[in-house]
Symmetry: C2
Subunit: 184 residues, 2 copies
């Protein structure tokens, strides 16, 4: 899923500006499963306007800069539909924390404990964000997606809380033993 299609998806739900799209995808209720920055959103919007997939109008505001409000066209909707029809890409998940956890035996116990604390905070923050966003959004799918996210995050959180000691034990015991590599 490239930024282009992402913008179409959001504009298909209603008119918006580049600024608002960025907020949605990197802080708002879309931010849990997509991301994009100004540097990719604005050029994408401009190019799509040239191609006739979206149109824009200037909106003046008092005390604030002008907004450039984009609307999706029927061509844009067609392109978006086409994107929806073909099989979705697989989820992408990258976790530095799990890499650390995998290498627990090589880690300094304190550094590991710190990493666990941070992961715990991160998971809690994500859960809180979902709660905050779901309230303020009225898309039909949003609640469903919110609950999906809660299910995953809370089971991760729960696992981490109840099993962190086991992981920390691995780091401690490895530290107690003489390092194997040195023995070779």
């Amino acid at each position: 899923m490239n930024v282009r299609t992402l913008c179409l998806a959001i504009l298909n739900c209603g008119d918006s500006t580049g600024y608002e799209i960025r907020k949605l995808v990197s802080e708002g209720h879309f931010s849990h499963f997509v991301d994009a920055s100004y540097g990719s959103i604005y050029p994408a919007l401009n190019r799509m306007e040239q191609e006739g997939l979206v149109v824009s109008r200037q909106e003046e505001q008092e005390g604030k800069p002008n907004r450039k409000v984009y609307s999706i066209t029927s061509d844009g909707q067609a392109e978006f539909s086409a994107a929806l029809t073909k099989p979705a890409q697989k989820d992408l998940f990258k976790s530095e924390f799990l890499l650390l956890a995998m290498c627990a035996e090589l880690m300094d116990p304190e550094a590991l404990s710190r990493a666990i604390d941070e992961q715990l905070e991160y998971l809690k923050a994500e859960l809180a964000l979902i709660d905050a966003h779901v309230e303020e959004v009225d898309m039909a799918g949003a609640n469903w997606v919110g609950d999906y996210g809660r299910a995953c995050l809370s089971s991760a959180l729960n696992y981490l809380l109840t099993n962190r000691a086991d992981l920390e034990e691995i780091a401690k015991q490895a530290r107690a033993k003489p390092v194997l590599i040195a023995a070779e």
Copy 2:
């Protein structure tokens, strides 16, 4: 986490070749939370050898091409430790499926059902992979990480199985009603 550090992490667990590293990170037991391809692994390994973070030796094999086996040096271990000590990057999660789900009301019900089926298959396949990998690996952290993954994936799977009908209903009802956008 860049490819460089990823290679160091793996070499810190034991000697390996570029070919093996790629297998581990994109098909093996690391593939659930990291990824990298030949085009980034080989250059990273070469550069790190120049910098003295790793060393290599040729190993001849009968009936197969030579292997270039890399070992981490003490300089490499130092760099890796440094990377472990500083706060880990947050998890990165991108999901085209959740984007579709969010836009359920705009989707063709059949396309949505297909997407759900595919997501279900994907989650099952990931779970099966974990089971397969955990058996063949002896790293201390691997079981812990495997269980973490199972916790997340199985709750996602479970949620999807028990709640897919609700999502499908959103798509169907939106289709039944006249499209709102057209009414504007």
